[in-house]
């Protein structure tokens, strides 16, 4: 890193005004703590409403019967698996270029949740594929690229865990996250670019949705639930990471002393 970046980052983190004020773990920590209950509550409410619409209100599909109800978990999980990776790559870039510690911590905090949603998308996809396609798994473009996404998340976490120095781990992970981001458009457009067993997207910004309104509504509310859940759990995790990494600072000592 150049000295310009370092002075910039250290100034931003020590004094802090405006947006950069929250780039310092010390100021972000209490803010995150205040935000967690709100997002957690939103996640619970959206999940209850979404599952109610999905499992009680939405009608039976005339082709797939009740098996289609997996959509209310599968699609939000698949969306989140890709979206979290983009956010992770974004914070990695910020961490690399501005040398802000908090950005890298955010990237690290998001990885396990991203991996979880990727696994869920694959798992629910397999359980949906069996009754509708007659197979748990095929090596088609959509499924294979989503599996690669799972390996990218696991690779990111394993790489960071294998490096003792936190800042070096941040940088190595950031490079891996950046290289892997090429996989996201491949997943997204795979159903258009190649002949896949996986169907095309049922929701589009330009066309009218090809599904019943209640089905769409349930799916979107479940997507909101996964957003709120991801924010809440990632903030919880980033707070743990802050405490672990900043344990020698006075603010952590004060916080730990007051809360134990």
């Amino acid at each position: 890193m150049s000295t310009v970046n370092q002075t910039f980052a250290s100034r931003a983190e020590s004094s802090g005004s405006g947006f950069f004020k929250y780039a310092s773990p010390q100021t972000f920590f209490p803010l995150a703590g205040k935000m967690i209950p709100w997002f957690a509550t939103a996640a619970v409410i959206f999940t209850i409403v979404g599952l109610y619409i999905g499992f009680a209100v939405a009608p039976t599909d005339h082709q797939q019967g009740e098996s289609y109800r997996i959509i209310f978990i599968h699609v939000p999980a698949a969306w989140m698996s890709m979206f979290i990776y983009l956010v992770m790559a974004f914070w990695s870039v910020v961490g690399l270029t501005l040398n802000t510690r908090l950005s890298s911590m955010m990237a690290t905090a998001l990885a396990p949740t991203g991996a979880m949603f990727t696994f869920l998308a694959l798992w629910t996809g397999a359980l949906w594929g069996k009754p509708t396609w007659g197979t748990w798994w095929v090596w088609d473009a959509r499924l294979t690229s989503e599996l690669i996404l799972l390996f990218l998340y696991i690779g990111f976490m394993a790489l960071q865990a294998s490096i003792d120095d936190a800042r070096r781990a941040d940088k190595a992970g950031a490079v891996l996250a950046l290289v892997g981001v090429v996989n996201i458009p491949i997943i997204y457009f795979s159903v258009q670019w190649w002949n896949t067993l996986h169907q095309g997207s049922s929701v589009s910004l330009t066309k009218a949705p090809s599904m019943a309104m209640t089905m769409l509504l349930g799916m979107l509310i479940m997507a909101l639930a996964s957003w709120a859940y991801t924010i809440a759990v990632a903030l919880c995790r980033v707070r743990c990471i802050m405490l672990e990494r900043e344990k020698h600072t006075d603010w952590v000592k004060d916080y730990v002393e007051k809360n134990t």
Partner: protein
Amino acid sequence: MNWNSWSDFFAMGGYALYVWGSVLMTVILVAGEVIAVRMRRNTVMKLYGRWVRSNRRESNENEA
């Protein structure tokens, strides 16, 4: 309402294994992640709490 009874609901029109298999895995993973994060926080607080207090005691003894 799509369901005539609870058993009708749990049967999921013959797709119980697939639908409930998806729901169950989601519940397990989400609950697991929440518990894991909680445990991580508790461990950190317990460990550092002990460490901070013993440091404080030592510095107090040195001053006295």
